[in-house]
């Protein structure tokens, strides 16, 4: 029932459409070449005093619900380990003092702005984008609210406005892109930080700074810059006095989780070779099986 000509015509049409589709997908896939001078932030947790002023500054900057600055002096929140949520892009958690001192360790938590972000790779419509300058930015207008980015993020950062029936947003730290990208000004939290536990600058320079501090004070720091390699590296870096696991950084490989799915996706769908080959094989199978059936019918009839 399928003539050979029909079959080739059909295959040709599919190949054409598929090729066009592939080109389109290729062109719009956000694969930014990262700017070598891209921004980053360095958190030196050993300098943090747990004043939570960064939390206030962030809420102020990003129009998040918050009380006045004094209310952030409340240290009872340290009784629990908190996570950023739909109403706060960043929180500070308190850990026990290192042996022999009574100065607790305070750790600021926010999106790390991965170099190869899983959330960006996952997003179905490109509502999350990695700027070549560093920040991972969200466009609520594009977002369809599927929450796949939340599944993908290995640091469990994106939060969601579940209570909003109509226009829920993904909520996460923007690295204050409207300040950093547009004006080259430091993020609100960095500007606010009294002991300068947060430093804004070029990632490459911050990485040097971090290594220098560790080298000059080997007793003070654990010899690892968190974010240099983890999950493919992050634009936001941290140094601290203890192994990363002890401040609840998940154990991850040095490869972005996005590499796994992107390898699969591109392996199967690159230029649509996989699906096209399958289409061809099925076409041939169908043709030969219908020929065989006809032969049989002819013999019998």
């Amino acid at each position: 029932m399928v003539s050979r000509r029909d079959f080739f015509k059909i295959t040709g049409t599919v190949a054409g459409t598929a090729a066009l589709t592939a080109v389109g997908a290729e062109a719009s896939a956000p694969h930014p070449k990262l700017d070598p001078d891209r921004f980053g932030v360095l958190t030196d947790t050993t300098l943090c005093i747990g004043c939570r002023r960064c939390e206030w500054a962030c809420a102020e900057q990003n129009d998040l619900p918050h009380g006045d600055l004094e209310s952030f002096g409340d240290t009872s929140v340290f009784d629990l380990m908190r996570r950023p949520d739909a109403e706060s892009y960043t929180v500070v958690n308190r850990y026990s003092p290192p042996a022999g001192t009574d100065q607790p360790l305070d750790v600021k938590v926010q999106c790390l702005h991965c170099e190869h972000p899983a959330c960006v790779s996952a997003c179905i419509v490109g509502a999350l984008v990695k700027s070549p300058q560093g920040p991972v930015i969200y466009d609520a207008w594009k977002c369809i609210g599927c929450r796949y980015c939340m599944i993908a993020c290995p640091f469990q950062i994106p939060a969601y406005e579940y209570a909003d029936p109509l226009t829920p947003r993904i909520m996460k730290c923007t690295m204050c892109s409207e300040r950093t990208l547009a004006e080259g000004r430091p993020p609100a939290c960095v500007e606010m930080c009294p002991p300068e536990a947060l430093v804004f600058g070029r990632r490459s320079e911050l990485l040097e700074l971090a290594h220098r501090r560790i080298m000059e004070n080997p007793d003070r720091y654990h010899p690892e810059v968190i974010g240099e390699h983890i999950a493919g590296g992050t634009s936001w870096l941290m140094i601290t006095d203890r192994p990363a696991a002890e401040i609840d950084i998940p154990e991850l490989s040095n490869e972005s989780p996005a590499v796994i799915t992107e390898t699969i996706q591109h392996g199967i769908f690159k230029g649509f070779t996989g699906p096209l080959m399958l289409f061809g094989i099925l076409g041939i199978l169908m043709k030969s099986s219908s020929d065989k059936r006809k032969e049989k019918e002819d013999e019998n009839g």
């Binding site: 949520d85 594009k142 977002c143 469990q156 579940y162 991850l252 989780p257």
Partner: protein
């Protein structure tokens, strides 16, 4: 299916069967469906937070694990039967194609609906179709695209059945009656055209199905640190595809028996038994892939830990794969309707449990404050959706020629 390929006569049940549309069972199902719709309304006006236990730790729940992921897997009957009956030209199985096609068409419609219910900004779903927003790196994009195109293909594959129902029977009342001849002609042209291009859509349907059945597995491959190593593997897409093959056939058997029972017709054992013979091979291939993968990744010791996840894995493999493989291998049991149905039901259960495990049970976020458990409203919506599917299936087989005409079943 195109008429040129439909050698078996199918008839609508209305007017051809003594079974009434409403029975006590159907009424219960209708009530459940109504409860589901009520939940949907609450979700639309009050948001996901009001009716679900989703949170920042567990962004996905049973709506993705069951309504969407299991829904797609269970609708695999459509493409597996199309492959066996049409691509391989296996005449015998043509009677099963239409019911499988109908299940797939309704199933996928509800998968689409299920996705929209879960989406926070469902009104933006069209963004997925805009080339300016295409995101080729996203497995979800691949799934979304394929499902949308496949749903269209399914509707097109179903059109000949609609034509068959109305050709020579277009009978509009009153003034509209003048249009009857014209409409009838239009249907005939449509039917002829469809018959010619159907080959293309049948093959396209199989290709699209293979693509998104596997990509559904790719989805969770992006969370290696969050999904338990019992299930997380880079070959998840392969495992999803292999299990879809097996469950496609099992579903065809499962629903055929159910439909026969419900519509008081003889069970089509003469096609179901030979179909069942193919399932063990598919299950063994799936099982082997799973075992090799577990050994390869050194994840097998987890199987012997005494915890809930390991138990779920054992049930999934034991009840869903190993036992039905042996049951289906027995010549005698394959010919027994009760055993045939039970074995098929086990495979269906196993694949649903697998999808549930991959998307729900196996998900272990690093900062969890207690395991996710579905809210009763979540369950109500899922049950309501399934009930709606059953109702729609019933409505369609009453109106359209889907099930084989009864004499044929008896005499074959």
């Amino acid at each position: 299916m195109a008429d040129s390929m439909q050698h078996h006569k199918a008839l609508p049940l209305a007017g051809n069967s003594a079974v009434p549309f409403f029975t006590p069972g159907v009424i219960v199902i209708a009530i459940l469906a109504a409860a589901g719709v009520a939940t949907l309304v609450v979700r639309l006006f009050l948001g996901l937070g009001a009716v679900t236990n989703f949170n920042d730790q567990y962004p996905w729940g049973i709506w993705i694990g069951i309504d969407v992921a299991s829904g797609v897997a269970l609708a695999a009957g459509g493409f597996t039967m199309a492959f066996i009956a049409h691509v391989m030209n296996n005449e015998k199985y043509h009677v099963l194609v239409r019911p499988a096609l109908l299940t797939a068409a309704i199933g996928y419609t509800f998968v689409g609906l299920g996705v929209c219910v879960d989406l926070g900004r469902y009104y933006n779903i069209w963004h997925v179709m805009m080339p300016s927003m295409w995101q080729g790196n996203s497995a979800l994009f691949e799934v979304g695209m394929c499902v949308m195109i496949y749903l269209t293909v399914l509707y097109i594959e179903f059109l000949p059945i609609v034509c068959e129902r109305f050709i020579g029977r277009v009978n509009l009342p009153g003034v509209l009656g003048k249009m009857n001849g014209f409409l009838d002609g239009l249907l005939r042209v449509l039917d002829k055209t469809l018959a010619r291009v159907m080959t293309f859509f049948i093959i396209a349907g199989v290709v699209l199905s293979c693509a998104h059945q596997s990509s559904l597995g790719t989805l969770m491959a992006i969370a290696p640190s969050k999904l338990s190593p019992l299930w997380h593997t880079p070959v998840l897409p392969l495992l999803f595809l292999l299990s879809a093959f097996a469950v496609g056939l099992a579903m065809a058997i499962f629903e055929s028996v159910l439909a026969s029972r419900s519509f008081k017709r003889p069970i089509e054992m003469h096609v179901l038994s030979p179909l069942a013979r193919m399932i063990p091979l598919l299950l063994v291939v799936y099982f082997a892939a799973k075992v090799i993968d577990l050994v390869n990744r050194d994840a097998w010791p987890l199987l012997f830990e005494a915890n809930f996840r390991a138990l779920m894995f054992w049930i999934e493999i034991g009840v869903g794969v190993i036992i039905p493989t042996f049951l289906f291998l027995s010549h005698r049991l394959r010919r027994n309707p009760v055993w045939l149905f039970s074995s098929a039901a086990m495979v269906v259960f196993g694949v649903v449990l697998n999808r549930f495990n991959v998307f729900v049970t196996g998900y272990t976020p690093p900062y969890s404050e207690g395991q996710y458990f579905p809210a009763w409203t979540e369950v109500m919506l899922t049950v309501g959706m399934i009930s709606l599917i059953v109702l729609l299936y019933r409505i369609w087989v009453f109106i359209f020629p889907v099930l084989p005409a009864e004499e044929e079943v008896e005499h074959a």
